[in-house]
Every structure is written in C-alpha cells, then in structure tokens.
C-alpha cells in the first residue's frame, strides 16, 4: 500500500518539475475510520469511511500555489498539478516562502494501525453503562467514538521523504445533567488513546467532569459584581488564555501584520515566573503528535514561555522569514503547562472570593487580549470553599495582565492524549451577574 502512495507522490513531483516548478511538495494520504454514534443516550449509527487525500504545494519563481483533492486517478492528479502551476503563475512572487532543504528519509509509526471494532463497540457500550450507573442524572446528548488508521507519505523536491503509519482511538462525549424540567449546561469530555486497555470513564478527567456537571442542575445567578480570583479548568484555560495568546500574540498572522502586543517582548517577562508554556509533540502523553511541519521540517518540542519569559514565537518558516524571528519547532498545538505544587482543593482553600470556570463561551479574542464572556459550568468560591453552581455569570479581563497576576497552578493535570494542562488560578478577573 505504501508503495502505491510513494508512486503517486513521485509522479506528482516529476510532473511539477516538468511544468517548471522550482519547488514542489506533496502529501498523499489514505485512511480508514470506524465510528460509533450515540444520540440521546441510544446507539444510532455505525460508520466506516475509506478516505484519501492529496495535497500539493508548488513554487514557481517564488510564487506559491496549493491544490487539494481526494482522488488518486492519474489523470485527475496531472490536472491538479497543472491547476497548481496556474495558481502559482497567477499570484505575486514572495521571497519569504521556504521549505525544508535537508535531504532526509524517515518512517513514523504510532498507535494501533488496525481497528479492533468489537473492542471499540464494547468500550463505547461500557462507557454508556458506567455513566448510567454512576451518574444517573447525566443524559448523553451525543457520543462519538472512533478509530482512525492513516498511512501517508510526504515528499518534496529537496529530497525529503516521510512515511507515516498511525492509528488512534478517540472518544468524545457531550452531556448535561437533568432532573425533571431542570437541566445543566452541556459539557464535553474528549480523550484520544493509543490502546483500549482501560475503561474510558477512568481516562483523563472524564469521571471528575461528569460528577461536576451533575452538581450543576440547580444554579443561582451571581447577583453582584466583583473583582476576584478565577480558577480556570483546562478547557476554560484553553479558551480564554491559550487561544488568545497563541492566536493574537505569537503566531504568523499577528506578527506579520505587526499587531501582536508581544512583538517587542521576546526575552522579556510576560508571565509569572512559575508559568511555562510548551509545545510537546513528542511527549509520552501525546498519542498522535506532529512528526513534521507543513513546510517539511522535523517537529521538535519547544517552549514559547519558559519561567515567565517569552523565549520563542510560534512562527512558520514563512513567518520567520517575514519577521526576522526564529522558526518554531513545530506547527502543531500539543500544548503543555507543567503542573504546580498544590492540589486544586488546596488552591481553592486559599481563595476568599472567586469562581471556578469549567468552560468559557466568549467572543473571539481581541488583539489586545481583552476578553469577556459567559462562565459556563461554573461554581462560586467563597471563603475557601466551592458553594453554588452559577448561571448567567460573565467574566472579563485581559490575558496579558492575568498571566502576570497568576495566583497558583494545580498539581491536578488533564492529559487527554493531546494536551497536558493544569487548573490555573488568576487574580484580578471581573465577575458579574445579571
């Protein structure tokens, strides 16, 4: 099978060169997905997908074009190569386009390449039964469990060849708690696994999250406004802090535009010294990490912020060439923040007035890092204790300020196969009711 993909990739590069491309790269992928769906607590669907994909990028006189298709037919591929050359010819030259030049051949393997369909079904059924037995107030709105097996080849005209065989199981369960006509907000727990060697309810924070949502049927509005401490659970931390910091401060778009407020902060303190933010595609807890970047460079773990200091931007080689900064070690987002020294319970005991936020529903992050939105699945913290579940409660603040006013980082960490993130408490967050 890999020989067929390799043959197609070779043909694409040959055609590209024959049509005058100065550089070409392609990825040819074939994958199979097995999937079970549960809707409204009942099994509803079984899917088997046989997919394929071809992605071609070319340069002609530093003019770039990209074409994607999902057909392996020789004629369609030749036509796509011609389309790609036409796309190159229609655009402007940009000297910043650059790709991996170091000739290299590597094979990558991860996970189980073949789905154990019966085991996947049984783990899905077991999760449904565990939820029903241990969390009777929970209604599973939708559950999607799947296995994806992928074979792919990346080749470029600089002599780089990467072959990938990967297989992984994923579980996504969306649910809410109900009692009569009363119901909680919905919540989603997601896990990616290499193997089905334990019950899903025991993975990541699934059991803890189900328990918390069960306590959110009876909510109270906050009723006042205060500035206090927000403890962000991993999902809320991702929504509020990490997407803003990554999207608006350290990546290609904002740095090329010059709108990043951190553009002059390299090697300066942007966060509390206890805060480190890394991208770790090769960490042991990551099930399917990035092996190579979109530009053909081998991926490496790297730190964006180390001990509070901004030490590297998350730039592509194109972005690096545009801005003069260093390229990032990876183009993926396997984010990791090292755990702290105290448990979540110990941290909560130190907080007089605050809020525990499991999920955040907010506007798109402003380039300034200002945010406001609804604290979903949240609890009031008063005098060191978690008290009421809250409804219609908004939180607002400024991400750069929060990172400098970090109160504590928990020992408790979410490891869901993609991320490794703790709970983090931030001071100076505005919390308001109706």
């Amino acid at each position: 099978m890999m020989e067929k993909l390799e043959h197609l990739a070779g043909m694409i590069l040959s055609e590209a060169k024959a049509l005058g491309a100065s550089y070409a790269q392609c990825t040819v992928t074939e994958d199979t997905t097995k999937e079970f769906n549960v809707d409204g607590g009942q099994f509803s669907l079984m899917r088997t997908l046989f997919d394929r994909g071809v992605s071609i990028t070319m340069l002609k006189n530093q003019r770039k074009g990209t074409v994607q298709l999902n057909c392996f037919d020789d004629e369609a591929i030749r036509s796509a190569v011609k389309d790609c050359i036409s796309a190159c010819e229609s655009t402007e030259p940009d000297p910043a386009w650059a790709f991996s030049e170091a000739a290299c051949e590597r094979d990558f393997t991860s996970g189980e390449p073949v789905c154990d369909t019966d085991a996947l079904f049984l783990r899905t059924k077991e999760l449904l039964e565990n939820v029903a037995q241990r969390h009777p107030k929970i209604l599973v709105e939708q559950m999607i469990t799947s296995h994806n097996a992928e074979r792919s080849i990346y080749m470029n005209t600089n002599g780089v060849t990467y072959r990938t065989h990967a297989g992984a199981y994923s579980f996504s369960i969306m649910y809410s708690a109900h009692e009569g006509e009363k119901g909680s907000s919905f919540y989603s727990s997601d896990v990616t696994l290499a193997r089905l060697d334990r019950p899903i309810i025991e993975c990541a924070l699934v059991e803890r999250e189900l328990s918390a949502v069960e306590k959110q049927i009876d909510t109270v509005p906050l009723g006042d406004k205060f500035m206090g401490t927000a403890v962000l659970a991993p999902a809320a931390l991702m929504e509020i802090v990490l997407y803003t910091a990554l999207g608006s401060f350290v990546s290609d778009g904002s740095l090329i535009e010059g709108t990043s407020i951190w553009k002059d902060k390299l090697n300066m303190m942007v966060a509390d010294p206890r805060f480190t933010l890394s991208v770790t595609p090769h960490a042991p807890h990551v099930v399917v990490g990035e092996d190579y970047t979109n530009e053909g460079f081998l991926s490496e773990d790297y730190d964006i912020i180390r001990d509070g200091m901004l030490i590297r931007f998350a730039l592509s080689q194109y972005g690096a060439n545009k801005t003069g900064f260093e390229r990032a070690g990876s183009s993926g987002w396997n984010l990791a923040i090292p755990a702290g020294t105290r448990s979540l319970d110990e941290i909560i005991r130190t907080i007089d007035n605050g809020i525990l936020v499991m999920r955040f529903s907010g506007g798109q992050p402003a380039p300034s890092g200002e945010f406001s939105g609804v604290a979903k699945n949240s609890f009031r913290i008063e005098n060191g204790k978690i008290t009421d579940a809250l409804s219609e409660t908004m939180i607002s603040g400024c991400v750069p300020d929060m990172l400098l006013h970090l109160r504590d980082i928990s020992q408790d960490v979410l490891q869901d196969g993609t991320f490794s993130l703790p709970y983090i408490a931030f001071d100076g967050v505005t919390v308001s009711g109706q």
Binding site: D39, C71, S86, T91, E141, Y318
Partner: protein, 461 residues
C-alpha cells in the same frame, strides 16, 4: 459536474431496509491577502460516494473517496453490514420510516469553475483601494472564497435529486489602534449564493462597503467600554440573525431536543413576546429567494418551511425522518450533510425572525440609556438556551441618539427569557450567509431578521 452513474443501482438496494446513496463533489477556492502579501492561494476538490442504510431504528453508513459504480456498490455493501452489526448488537426494534413518495428533483443550474487569477485580480483591486483610501490602519487583510456542494442522491423510498449550492464571498478585515495603542479589528463579509464571477463583477461596487467599514473602524478606535449589566438594547438585523440561529434554532433541532434541550419542555408554551415570529425557511422567505435555498435534503425529503415560533408560542422542531417519526411531526428537509463522507444531520437552512412595523430611527429614539449593537463576531449557545454573542461593532444610545462607538464586548442571556422582553420589531430584514454552522460537521446556513428592542446582559471591562 457529477455525471449520472448510479441509477442502475437502485435494483440492488436491500428490500428489508431503507437506503440512501449519495455522490457528492465539494469545491472550495480561497485566496487570502495579508498586508499586501498573498498568504493563501488554494483550490480544493473533494468527491466520493456514500450509502446509509436504516434498519429497525439504527443506521449503517459507509463512504469511499471515489466517484464510481464500483465504489457505490462497495459502500452499499459496507453500509448494510454496519446496519446489520448495529441491529444485532444495539438493535432498537423500531418501525420503518414512513415513505415520502418517489419523485425526481432535477439539476436546475450549472456552475463554471472560476480561474484563480480572477480571485487574485479582484482582491488586488480592493487592496489597492483600501491602501489609498483608508489611511491610519495598522493592518488590512482580504480573502476571496467560493465553496459549493453538488449532490447526486438516490433513495429507496423518497425523492431522488441532483442539486448544487454555490456561494462566494469577499472578506474585508481592518485593524486600527486606539489612542493608547491597543489594536481593534473589524470584519465584513460581502457576497452570497452564486459563483465568484457572478457575484463580483466590478470591484468598484464593493468600495462603498470598504468606506463604511473604514468609518466604523475609525469610530471604534475612539470607542469606549460598555457598562456591564442588564441593558435595553437595539439588536441590529445581523445580531437578530445570530440570535435566531444560535440561541433559538439549535435548541429546537430535534436531535438536541432528544439530548435534553430546554425546548423539550416548551412546545406549545409562550417562549417569546407576541411580537416575535421565527421560521426556518427552506428556499423562499418574505416573497424572495433565501440566501442559501434548499429544495430537497439529503434524505430525499422535499424542503418546506419550519414554523418555530408563531406570535411568541413555540410551535415546532426541525427534524430528520427518524426524529419526525419519534415526535409525530412531518420532516421538512432539514437533514443535510457537508461532505460525501458525512451522514445527514438535522441542520438549519435560513432561520429568521419575521419583520415588524417599527422604524429603526424610532427604535433608537425610544431609548434613553442603552446600546445599538450591529455586528457580531461569533456566537455560542447552550442547550439550556443560554447564549453568548461577541459584539464587534455597536454604539451607545444616550437620550434617543447614537453616541460613542463601543470596543469589543459580549452579550448574554437566556433565549426564552430574553425574547419575552422584545417590545419593538423593525420593518427591514437583514440576512447573512457567509459563515458555517458547526455541529459535528460544518454547514453553510443563512440567518437573518429585523432590528429588535429587548433587554440583554452586556459585558463590560
């Protein structure tokens, strides 16, 4: 365009199950320009065939990334095997879906493939205008996109169809700085149903929208934070569309009702002011073609409007064939799939609040202390009806007049509470259709409505 390949395969459909066979081609073209550089220049064509088989209450599905007779036969077999697996291990013993009557819906339009240079030349013209006429921006970016879904559907007991839905847009994005150096951004999408060459014939026709966006970003850079708390506001038509879709529409999708949405307890109840009527339109609304018309869905159901709220009373849900059977309702063409490899899900089409009789200027004049909220960056809602919308453009209203512009903020509320506070409804409907609704799969949708006077919670600093 897809060629007819499958008509002979109907004879192979299982007699003991209900079957859909769908061939599909999704085309996407995209060019993006950032600070004068073309940073994205791509063409994507995704095609294949899928089959879905219903048996005793569960479905089997399979797809192959190949549009051929051989692939169609293979997915029919794999989908049947999956349906058998589900019936054996998780069977629900439910009856067959009521047949809908066999008809054929033929292709009614053809589309041409626009060369990449057309997108690039158009963006260059817009970029040159922006550069010359919009001084003081710290960044400008533009995108031109076209996407289309072409589908060839064969079913065992409902409509067969060959449909195509193209849409194209230009996205204009401007960034300016506040006096203390913080960046502020605004985005506007221009376009709608149709291919790029039909929607964008002359860059000069877009210049007025660039001018309006520039005026707004210059106001916004001098903007102020909204005062947090519950306020009387005018939601502009774009915001009303977001409300219709996110805060109400999702809660009445029958699969989410079965998943515990608040609407499960509200059918026949007063959920809004009597001034509010809300419909999920199929293809024609208020006498005109909808932004993204749907004539037949991917289960072969002929599309019809779904009345959701009539004079404040919740009157219906959006359904698939299976959920319609469960609720004793009629399916009206809401089951739609994004790619060939996607199964149909219950999705909105063109969801809008009906217009009233109030003039926008009278609505603004009626407010002593509040806000006029015009553009939304994004929106999310809960199955409880609790919603949050990002507000990217708005103005203060002081003593019946527009005041200073607002910096980015959010509004929130509980849909069925907030809609009861609506006491004025504008007379002009505004539509948008450039986005994707996300629900396992993306899906192009239209949303719209008139200006509404109501009370919401607005976030401040």
């Amino acid at each position: 365009m897809l060629q007819e390949l499958f008509s002979g395969l109907k004879a192979t459909f299982s007699a003991s199950a209900q079957t859909e066979l769908r061939g599909q081609l999704n085309r996407c073209r995209r060019v993006s320009m950032l600070a004068g550089n073309i940073v994205s220049n791509s063409r994507t064509d995704i095609s294949g065939v899928s089959a879905r088989v219903y048996k005793n209450g569960t479905y089997g599905f399979s797809s192959i990334a190949e549009y051929s007779d051989e692939a169609a036969r293979a997915v029919l077999q794999a989908a049947s095997e999956n349906a058998d697996f589900m019936d054996l291990h998780a069977g629900r013993g439910l009856p067959s879906l009521p047949p809908l009557g066999k008809k054929h819906f033929p292709l009614t339009q053809d589309i041409r493939d626009v060369p990449q240079s057309a997108y690039i030349d158009f963006l260059r013209a817009l970029d040159a205008y922006m550069k010359e006429h919009c001084p003081g921006l710290i960044s400008r970016s533009l995108s031109a996109t076209e996407d289309s879904m072409e589908k060839m559907l064969l079913t065992s007991d409902s409509m067969d169809a060959h449909t195509i839905l193209p849409r194209s847009y230009c996205y204009l994005i401007m960034t300016a700085e506040t006096p203390d150096g913080a960046p502020v951004e605004l985005l506007q999408a221009v376009g709608g149903e149709g291919t790029f060459d039909l929607n964008f014939t002359d860059p000069a026709l877009i210049y007025p929208q660039i001018d309006q966006l520039y005026d707004r970003i210059m106001h916004k850079r001098e903007g102020v934070y909204a005062d947090a708390g519950k306020k009387t506001v005018i939601l502009g038509g774009m915001m009303t569309g977001m409300l219709s879709h996110e805060a109400v529409g999702h809660t009445v999708e029958a699969d989410l009702v079965l998943g515990g949405s608040v609407a499960g307890h509200c059918l026949g109840r007063q959920v809004a002011s009597e001034k509010v009527t809300l419909t999920d339109f199929a293809h024609t609304a208020f006498g005109e073609r909808c932004p993204l018309p749907v004539f037949v869905d991917d289960e072969g159901t002929e599309a019809a409007d779904v009345p959701i709220i009539e004079n404040g009373i919740l009157t219906g849900y959006m359904n698939s064939r299976q959920s319609a059977l469960h609720f004793g309702m009629k399916p009206r063409g809401n089951a739609r799939a994004w790619l060939f490899s996607d199964e149909p899900l219950i999705r909105m089409r063109n969801t809008a609040v009906h217009p009233g009789t109030d003039k926008l200027e009278d609505m603004i004049a009626s407010i002593d202390d509040g806000y006029y909220l015009i553009e939304s960056g994004n929106g999310q809602a809960d199955t409880t009806g609790e919603f949050m919308f990002g507000v990217t453009m708005g103005y203060e209203i002081r003593h019946g007049k527009l005041g200073r512009a607002l910096l980015d903020t959010t509004i929130s509320g509980v849909a069925f509470d907030m809609l009861k506070t609506v006491d004025m409804v504008g007379d002009t409907v505004v539509w948008s259709s450039s986005g994707f609704c996300g629900k396992k799969q993306p899906m192009p949708v239209g949303m719209g409505g008139p200006a509404l006077r109501c009370q919401v919670t607005i976030g401040g600093r």
